[in-house]
């Protein structure tokens, strides 16, 4: 399958819409967002902006297929001219693309209890076949670069502070090389120094030609890394 236009884009979203039908509320429809179109090239960061409730997080969740798209296309270029429409692919295919191509740093850390920070961060690498020892070594390096104290490596991140959890979430999202990385407020609960480290990490990912779509709660931080901006209006 070929991308319809703008072949240099890694991600091309066309007329994407999402509405929710509440069957147990008499079939009431809630509009998430409508008519969202943008494209992102490799090494670019597109920032989604707009007021609270405009549907920024919903756009990310729809690209990741946590939300089922109501209408529109989401073309991802998987390299060598292979483009797939994430809005139309099967669940099994989406599972494969998530493992190999798409990362998602969600707003809140959702992990299993009882698993150490090191294992949580190393898991995406192990999933794609990296030797466990190598994956753990890489996870430790990444955690050190994000200033997570070594004494916390063997502890479940669910016991960490909000800022520490956020850094674990980011480390887990970026450890395995992906073509597309979605980030929902990656610096929201971080102090200036930690946020600076995350922004440096995002710059490094851009140099690695990773395509990034992100939401920032802080405009000053956004302008430091964003190449383009897509503004969503309330109930557009």
């Amino acid at each position: 399958m070929n991308m319809p236009t703008q072949n240099s884009s890694r991600l091309q979203v066309e007329n994407l819409c999402k509405s929710f039908t509440l069957h147990n509320r008499g079939g009431r429809k809630i509009n998430g967002f409508a008519g969202v179109s943008f494209s992102v090239k490799p090494g670019e960061l597109l920032a989604l902006t707009g007021p609270s409730g405009a549907g920024k997080s919903s756009v990310l969740k729809t690209i990741y297929r946590t939300y089922t798209p109501s209408r529109g296309t989401i073309y991802l270029d998987r390299g060598q001219g292979r483009a797939v429409d994430l809005a139309a692919c099967s669940e099994s295919e989406m599972l494969c693309y998530r493992r190999s191509d798409i990362g998602f740093v969600t707003q809140f850390l959702k992990i299993l209890p009882r698993i150490s920070a090191l294992e949580v961060v190393a898991a995406p690498l192990i999933d794609i076949g990296t030797d466990k020892k190598d994956a753990v070594t890489r996870a430790a390096q990444l955690l050190r670069s994000l200033h997570i104290r070594e004494e916390l490596f063997s502890v479940s991140p669910l016991t960490f502070s909000g800022g520490e959890q956020q850094r674990i979430n980011i480390a887990r999202g970026v450890i395995a090389p992906k073509k597309l990385l979605l980030l929902d407020e990656p610096t929201a609960s971080l102090d200036e120094e930690s946020a600076g480290r995350v922004l440096t990490l995002l710059h490094e990912l851009k140099k690695q030609k990773i395509c990034l779509v992100a939401i920032f709660h802080d405009r000053d931080r956004m302008v430091q890394v964003a190449d383009n901006e897509y503004h969503l209006e309330q109930n557009n």
Partner: protein, 278 residues
């Protein structure tokens, strides 16, 4: 594709011939109005890919456990076809596993597919020791060398974190959670391609539940087999599965990525189910 289920149905009772069309989710019933037969599973189509973990959820009586028992050939299907990737005839063509004879079914269970039951008494032979139960499965898979069988049994006892010294103890001397772990060791000792789990943690206290779930997840990542997990507990489904199927009245009402099913359920029944999580 590892498993391909096509129009699989199970009817209890003398069918009038129209049971499947008159029951199912669109009719809101599993009992045929014509002949009162119970349609436990109604024309289910489903595929499971290699290394995929599929969850089946639904209320009691929705047909989820029956579906699993049909796949493991514990009960006879009324109609449908099921193909398993590595089950080929002498000409290399796919074999419908619903048509296997007793001997062929035993070979399939010993080499390709294992089942973990809610009640360990169904999955374990209580007249054999823990090690004996595991050895039975290894022998069934074709191993005949005593030392290899013993060392493999010890390996799995160690994997499920039971003391090696207890390998010769009988199942009834273990707690419920330990018996469940022995079932896991037995099921995995033949290195199956597909593991079927029927309510694997129901009835166990929460700390034991967590340990069993962690163990299953860890072993699945380590040994990379596919799983079909039946549970009424959405926490178990969230914990273990990649893709989830929702059943009601013997039919599949929704199929989706597990996070999609939990965060953006499409069907009214799934919305009700998800909104009922405490």
């Amino acid at each position: 594709m590892l498993l391909d289920i096509q129009y699989l149905s199970k009817i209890y009772g003398e069918s009038c011939g129209h049971c499947l069309e008159q029951t199912g989710d669109e009719h809101g019933r599993a009992i045929c109005p014509g002949c009162q037969s119970v349609v436990a599973v109604n024309r289910v189509n489903l595929r499971v890919e290699k290394d995929e973990v599929l969850g089946i959820v639904g209320e009691s009586g929705s047909g989820k456990s029956t579906l699993l028992q049909l796949l493991y050939r514990d009960i006879k299907a009324s109609s449908g076809r099921v193909f398993f990737q590595d089950m080929l005839d002498s000409d290399g063509l796919p074999v419908d596993i619903l048509k296997l004879n007793l001997l062929e079914t035993t070979v399939m269970r010993n080499k390709l597919m294992s089942m973990i039951y809610q009640n360990p008494r169904q999955g374990l032979n209580f007249l054999f020791s823990a090690g004996g139960n595991i050895a039975e499965k290894i022998i069934g898979a074709g191993e005949r060398h005593f030392e290899t069988i013993r060392s493999r049994a010890l390996h799995f006892i160690d994997k499920i974190e039971l003391p090696i010294s207890r390998i010769d103890d009988y199942p009834e001397t273990f707690s419920g959670g330990q018996q469940q772990r022995i079932q896991i060791a037995k099921a995995l000792s033949s290195s199956p391609k597909l593991l079927l789990l029927d309510e694997p943690t129901t009835g166990l206290d929460v700390s034991v539940q967590a340990k069993i779930l962690d163990m299953i997840r860890m072993l699945q990542q380590e040994m990379s087999f596919s799983m079909v997990v039946v549970s009424h507990d959405l926490g178990v489904i969230r914990h273990l599965t990649d893709i989830t199927v929702v059943m009601r009245n013997g039919s599949i009402v929704e199929y989706g990525l597990t996070d999609q099913i939990l965060e953006d359920p499409q069907h009214g029944y799934t919305q009700l189910l998800v909104s009922s999580i405490l």
